[in-house]
């Protein structure tokens, strides 16, 4: 199950953080997302491979904590997408697929002329889309 998704701007400022849990753990998830930025930075600054991996947006598993797995994705505009999940065996393809959809939704949201770049995404439609994507992710991995 996806616990949290986040969009973080290129100055590492949070643009959108949404948790999908019942519990009141927003603070914890904020911390996890915030910490994972360090790993993103690390990945970006020391790319392990060059060549075909150069333009890879998917950063893979950022770091496993006790209960969560954190995945990252970096767009060309240095906007980061972070996914926190409780599923311990997640297929990479699923995550890639999720990020692709998420990226599309994000692009649509920021293409809105009323969206101020660098400000938090407040679009309701974006939130709805994200929650459907998150739900479908759960279904895919279950089936």
């Amino acid at each position: 199950m996806i616990v949290c998704v986040a969009v973080v701007g290129h100055q590492n400022n949070p643009l959108y953080i949404q948790s999908f849990t019942e519990a009141d753990d927003a603070l914890k998830l904020h911390h996890i997302v915030h910490c994972s930025l360090d790993v993103v930075d690390e990945r970006v600054n020391n790319p392990k491979k060059s060549g075909p991996m150069l333009n890879e947006t998917f950063l893979g598993l950022l770091y496993p904590t006790d209960n969560y797995k954190v995945y990252g994705y970096l767009t060309n505009t240095k906007v980061k997408f972070i996914l926190v999940t409780t599923d311990l065996d997640v297929r990479d393809a699923d995550v890639r697929n999720f990020f692709r959809k998420f990226h599309t939704a994000y692009v649509d949201a920021v293409s809105n002329p009323f969206h101020v770049p660098g400000k938090k995404i407040t679009s309701r439609i974006f939130a709805e889309r994200v929650s459907t994507i998150v739900k479908s992710f759960g279904l895919n991995s279950a089936g």
Binding site: N13, H34, D38
Partner: protein, 1290 residues
């Protein structure tokens, strides 16, 4: 890098050193206590040697020299495993003490992150952490499976005062009192013993001691005995420069002088003793032991045979007891011996030897499943690898292996794991692998929350120091650590860690985390009673609009509670709650400009400025009078300040908004002002007495509101969740001087006072000379010059409608009041929209509305009003008008809603002071009214010339009721001026069957319009017509009581004037005499739905101006002649005389030339075919016949007619011929008519269209300015159809 110089190397050299067990008699201790320490403490400083320079030869034949060496001294009672609980308690105390120490720095501000980075680079992590780590490692000392803590020697000390010292020595090494390590067979009880006789010089001469020493030497051997004389300085206490004991004794009170009875000789003696002990006894004995053990080990274990044997033997033991610690190994077992050999070699820094032995033993322990021992050996292997600077990978692998093995043991291995982890971390740190070190710290965290807090904190520093530094993980681990500290009631540590976190999040937008951190710091400070700091942190989280409502309530509640706890009122600059929208700040003050309402004050200055331009004294005059005065009155500093009047409030509009979801009470919102009185001379003096000297007594007074020099208003309000309120604050100066508005203050929830200083960062200097610039610049300047009280007019217009229908005509009254005693005079007034508002004459004030509009027969119409003087100029109230005292001054106004829409009317009234001794000599009162005008009737006219008469027109009037619900009664239609006469074609009853126009209804009615202007003809120029003409028609049935409205009554004619002016722009030519203006008067019917609107009698007027009558040009003409004619064509052709009436309706003289053409120029003449058709049937000869078929034919012929010359060649002659002159020139005076005779000849019967002529006209240019340019100077008109029927007469 030399491993020994690294922190880990230092630590190992300190910690893994030979242990000397100390046994002493109470008398020895007594002697030492005189100096403030125990025997052991006395010796400790001299146990570490930096330059001992001892040659060592271990297993190999090659000797090497030791430079640094250290002994660890322990009392025999301490040589045992520390009690876990006691150790824990001790560690806790260490932490608490550190916390106390840190507290002093706590009140400082949170460090900048760059600062933190810098300090971390210099290794400046909290120093107590190192100390704590050392203590933590000591928890596992003296374990039975590690040999380096086992004492290598025993120091027995007996005082010379002791009776039978020799026996005392023997007693001391009594097995009952020895530590369990020696007793239960873990280590060899036969250890090196050193006998020390301690002699206190204060007790007497040293003779007895030497005697005893000799006796000792006899008993224990010469080399193992020594004498130590101490306390030699009996008289004066010795002050030691850099006291060697101070750094070893932490819990010493500052007044105590350690070692005060030991003189230099004593100290040197102790030094020598220890050096002797280590270099001549301990090290040689260790060498000896190493060599012995090495031989044994080689004999039993080295070599292929031994290895096979060993393997086989271990295999056989496999099904033995499988306890956690594996089998018990005594000191005599080979395993223990190897371990001891390894440890001794390690301590003597023969790491190669140590390593080989550790390797040997580790496989054995592994096979024996003695995991704890195995782990310990692995650990030592790692360290040995490290110290010998061999393979790093191996070292780390060993450490990890050891660590994991310890962890597998569960709780019993926990402490060892911790130690191992710490060493491992140090090893990683040494190699700058901070990033790898951090997770190890994280893994060290055991069940003990306090320890894990410390470990997490250290982990965070590792993240900070890793390259590049991982600040976010640093922050996160600090938060985790702080949380754990807090759980263990180590609040001070918690605060410290959280405060470091702040530096990470400073300036970021991770508000959730930021809020959490600030909130907890605040709470913890409050729990420590440091409420001031707590409040400071809590202030940061007040504007937490992003948090949930519950959290907001919690934050605010806690905050207020803490503030209350402090028991005093805080004054907080830039309190975040409520949020002040500083851009909304607006200062409204009245100098020479006064405002009737708030909306008037909000209007742009430029608008008022343009309105008042004509009214105010001219620029230069204002400059010399006003500014000159001003410049002398006030010092240069205040030249730029604004002027306000004593007793009149300066208002400040400011917006407060609440970012939270909960409502917050805000009370006591006031302005912070400063008033400084200036010398009284300033305002009392007349214009002449000023000598340019002016002292400013800028004594800033108390800012409280009970200051007598000004009054400030106080506003309380409750801001609901997410609300925004505009608040108007005011300050009323009561004394002359200078008033400065500094800021605004308010009280939140009755507990905390916030204030916000208006910043002057963008003050525009008001450099405009003489006159004030726009309103903006003074707005940003919050300094005011307060002048003496002067009168201020207040005005209102009543009853002013807020909502009305277009065309509504009303009678209003302007009322002016002057509350002061000083009269004002020279009143002038200007209105922005004279189309809407008109100034009446004083007699109107009593007249009744709307009857004053009625035409009264006795009064000659058109006499009293002269619209020409109603230009846009200023209205001057009559001479001598002055307003004073309680009685208001009234003046009538006429109002007419001219066009639909939202309209703002601006009225400015100028007045001068009766008593001119003030800086301000005149003032203006600015009134602004907004009104909404709804569309009502839409009237349009269409005029076409009448075909029958030359100067008559047919008019169609369309009236549409555009309202939603109102119905109107259309009363009267009037044409304006005396030139036009109108009459209805139908009786009004047929037009308005229901007598009214319902909502949405449209009607049309037809009228004739006749131009009655005097005509100049060639024939009779002298005759004049002065008949009264009917320019008004009533559209209500005859006999109804409604009187006729007088179009020339004052308001109507004035409004019509403006209406004309307005509509001029949308219509083309100015001054065209061929236009007519109509005024439609209607009245709303009394309806129940909208009683308020139709309650007073209303009249509505709709003006349609410049309805043009001339459609073709300035010249109109009419061909007059017979229409039907009988003629006997058998006799002759027929000659017909016609007359053309020409009329010049323009204001210029016109030349007209009429050209008759015998050939057709365009289509429109009759088709010859139709002529034949219409003529040939004989039965149709009897007069009139239907012309329609001809028309139909004509329609078809139009197709050909549009291509002139195709169907008609020039050769084809038209059926009739113009006889007479083919071209006639006429000179037409303006407004005159002329007649021209025309003649045609017809040769056969038929119907003829006499349009075969062209009229050229040419207007003489006039000296009328630029308007003529737009007009056609000349033109050409084709003749219009005139059908003539000629019949064969019988």
């Amino acid at each position: 890098m030399d491993p020994a110089k690294t922190p880990l190397g230092q630590m190992l050299l300190d910690e893994i050193t030979p242990v000397v067990m100390v046994l002493s008699t109470p008398l020895v201790e007594e002697a030492c206590f005189k100096n403030g320490f125990s025997f052991l403490q006395m010796l400790t400083p001299f146990c570490s040697f930096h330059n001992i320079d001892v040659p060592v030869r271990t297993a190999s034949d090659q000797p090497y020299r030791l430079q640094k060496f250290k002994l660890r001294l322990f009392y025999a009672s301490d040589v045992r495993k520390p009690d876990l609980e006691v150790a824990k308690e001790h560690l806790k105390q260490v932490i608490t003490e550190a916390g106390e120490k840190e507290l002093s720095e706590l009140s400082l501000d949170a460090p900048e992150i760059s600062h933190v980075l810098e300090s971390s680079e210099s290794g400046n992590t909290p120093s107590w952490l190192q100390f704590f780590n050392k203590e933590l490692i000591r928890v596992v000392s003296f374990s039975d499976h590690e040999a380096f803590d086992h004492p290598v020697a025993c120091l027995l000390a007996v005082s010379s005062k002791d009776e039978q010292p020799i026996n005392r020595f023997v007693d001391l090494f009594n097995t009952n009192k020895l530590p369990s390590l020696l007793n239960d067979g873990v280590m060899d009880p036969k250890i090196l013993k050193h006998y020390l006789l301690v002699h206190d010089n204060q007790d007497g001469p040293v003779d007895r001691a030497t005697k005893i020493l000799a006796e000792m030497r006899g008993t224990f051997g010469t080399s193992d005995c020594a004498l130590l004389c101490m306390n030699s300085s009996s008289d004066s206490p010795v002050k030691h420069e850099d006291n060697p004991w101070a750094s070893y004794n932490s819990n010493v009170s500052p007044g105590q002088d350690l070692g005060c009875f030991l003189n230099i000789d004593d100290v040197n003696e102790i030094k020598d003793l220890m050096q002797d002990l280590s270099s001549k006894h301990i090290i040689p004995s260790m060498e000896q032991k190493i060599r012995v053990l090495n031989q044994q080990v080689s004999a039993t274990r080295k070599g292929f045979r031994n290895q096979i044997k060993n393997l086989w033997w271990r295999k056989g033991k496999e099904d033995g007891v499988d306890s956690i610690n594996g089998p018990m190994y005594t000191f005599s077992s080979t395993e223990s011996q190897i371990r001891v050999l390894g440890d001794y070699a390690f301590m003597l820094r023969d790491y190669e030897l140590a390593l080989s032995n550790y390797r040997l033993i580790s496989t054995d322990y592994k096979l024996d499943k003695a995991w704890k021992r195995y782990a310990a050996v692995q650990e030592m292997m790692g360290l040995a690898y490290f110290m010998s600077d061999q393979s790093r990978k191996e070292a780390e692998y060993c450490m990890e292996n050891a660590f994991n093995t310890y962890l597998k043991l569960g709780s019993s291995g926990q402490q060892n794991a911790t130690r191992c982890g710490l060493w491992w971390v140090e090893m990683l740190k040494t190699r700058d692998q901070y990033k790898e070190a951090a997770p190890v710290y994280f893994r060290i965290c055991g069940e003990d929350i306090l320890h894990s807090a410390v470990m997490l904190e250290q982990a965070s520093y590792c993240y900070l120091m890793s390259k590049p530094s991982m600040l976010r993980k640093f922050g996160f681990h600090l938060v985790l650590s702080g949380d754990r500290y807090n759980k263990c009631d180590q609040v001070k540590h918690a605060i410290r860690t959280y405060r470091s976190v702040l530096s990470v999040f400073k300036g970021t937008t991770w508000s959730y985390i930021k809020d959490h951190v600030h909130f907890h710091i605040g709470q913890w400070y409050a729990s420590l009673g440091m409420c001031d700091v707590a409040v400071k942190h809590m202030l940061e989280i007040l504007a937490c609009g992003h948090q949930s409502k519950k959290t907001q309530e919690l934050f605010l509640g806690d905050f207020l509670q803490i503030v209350q706890k402090t028991g005093r009122t805080f004054e907080v600059s830039k309190l975040q709650l409520p949020v002040i929208n500083i851009s909304s700040l607006k200062v409204i003050f009245e100098d020479h400009r006064t405002f009737g309402s708030l909306s008037a004050a909000n209007t742009k200055e430029g608008l008022w400025h343009s309105l008042e331009e004509e009214m105010l004294p001219s620029f230069s005059a204002a400059k010399t009078n006003w500014l000159e005065l001003q410049s002398k009155l006030i010092s240069k500093n205040y030249r730029d300040s604004n002027v306000c009047v004593e007793g009149e409030a300066v208002k400040v509009n400011i917006e407060f908004s609440n970012p939270l979801q909960i409502s917050i009470p805000v009370s006591g919102v006031t302005l912070i002002c400063k008033h400084s009185p200036s010398t009284s001379e300033v305002t009392s003096g007349t214009k002449n007495d000023i000598d340019g000297k002016c002292e400013e007594l800028t004594t800033s007074r108390d800012l409280s509101s009970d200051n007598s020099s000004f009054l400030v208003s106080e506003v309380d309000f409750l801001l609901g969740g997410g609300e925004t309120t505009m608040v108007q604050l005011s300050v009323t100066p009561r004394d002359e001087g200078t008033l400065e508005i500094l800021g605004v203050r308010w009280k939140l929830s009755g507990t905390i006072v916030g204030f916000h200083n208006f910043e002057f960062s963008h003050v525009k200097k008001n450099t405009a000379k003489g006159r004030r610039k726009g309103k903006r610049s003074p707005n940003e300047n919050f300094k005011f010059l307060v002048t003496k009280s002067i009168p201020k007019l207040q005005g209102s217009i009543h009853p002013f409608p807020e909502k009305t229908y277009a065309g509504d005509l009303r009678h209003l009254v302007l009322e002016l009041r002057n509350s002061s005693e000083i009269p004002v005079k020279n009143l002038k007034m200007k209105i922005s929209h004279p189309r809407f508002l008109n100034i009446g004459s004083p007699e109107n004030i009593k007249s009744e509305f709307p009857s004053c509009l009625m035409k009264i027969d006795s009064v000659p119409s058109g006499a009293n009003a002269n619209p020409s003087n109603m230009s846009d100029t200023v209205f001057l109230f009559p001479e001598g008008t002055s307003v004073q005292g309680v009685t208001p001054f009234s003046w009538p106004l006429w109002f007419r809603a001219a066009v639909p829409g939202d309209i703002s009317l601006y009225i400015s009234i100028y007045y001068e002071m009766g008593d001119i001794s003030s800086v301000i000599r005149y003032r203006t009162l600015r009134l602004q009214y907004n009104l909404q005008v709804l569309p009502s009737l839409d009237v349009s006219f269409q005029i076409s010339p009448s075909p029958l008469r030359l100067r008559e027109f047919l008019v169609r009037m369309d009236v549409v009721n555009k309202t939603a619900s109102e119905s109107f009664q259309v009363n009267q239609l009037s044409s304006i001026g005396s030139d036009w006469e109108i009459s209805l074609l139908q009786p009004p009853e047929t037009i308005f069957p229901s007598l009214s126009l319902m909502a949405g209804q449209a009607i049309s009615c037809f009228l004739t319009l006749k131009n009655c202007r005097r005509i100049l003809t060639f024939e009779d120029t002298g005759s004049s017509i002065s008949m009264p003409i009917r320019s008004d028609i009533k559209l209500v049935p005859q006999g109804s009581e409604d009187p006729v409205y007088n179009m020339s009554s004052e308001p109507l004619v004035n409004f019509h004037h403006y209406e004309r002016q307005q509509q001029e722009f949308s219509h083309e030519p100015l001054g065209d005499l061929n236009t007519v203006d109509f005024v439609l008067i209607s009245r709303p019917l009394q309806s129940d739905t909208n009683a308020s609107f139709s309650d007073p009698p209303h009249v509505m007027s709709h003006h349609a101006c410049h309805c043009s009558t001339a459609s073709t040009g300035p010249i109109s003409w009419l061909v007059d002649g017979p229409r039907t004619l009988h003629h006997d064509f058998s006799a002759s052709f027929c000659e017909i005389n016609l007359k053309m009436h020409l009329y010049n309706s323009s204001g210029a003289t016109a030349f007209v030339r009429i050209n008759t053409l015998d050939y057709t120029v365009t289509g429109g003449q009759l088709n010859p075919l139709s002529v034949v058709q219409s003529v040939t049937p004989s039965d149709n000869q009897a007069g009139w016949h239907d012309i329609t078929p001809v028309n139909e034919v004509k329609v078809t012929s139009n197709v050909t007619g549009s291509q002139p010359g195709k169907s008609l060649s020039l050769g084809s002659v038209s059926p009739y011929i113009w006889s007479g002159s083919s071209s006639t020139n006429v000179h037409l005076e303006p407004m005159s008519s002329a007649q021209i005779p025309l003649q045609i000849c017809v040769f056969s019967p038929g119907i003829y269209d006499l349009s075969n002529y062209v009229l050229h006209w040419n207007l003489l240019p006039e000296d009328r300015g630029g308007q003529d340019e737009t007009r056609q100077p000349s033109g050409k008109c084709l003749g219009y159809t005139y059908y003539l029927t000629v019949l064969q007469s019988t």
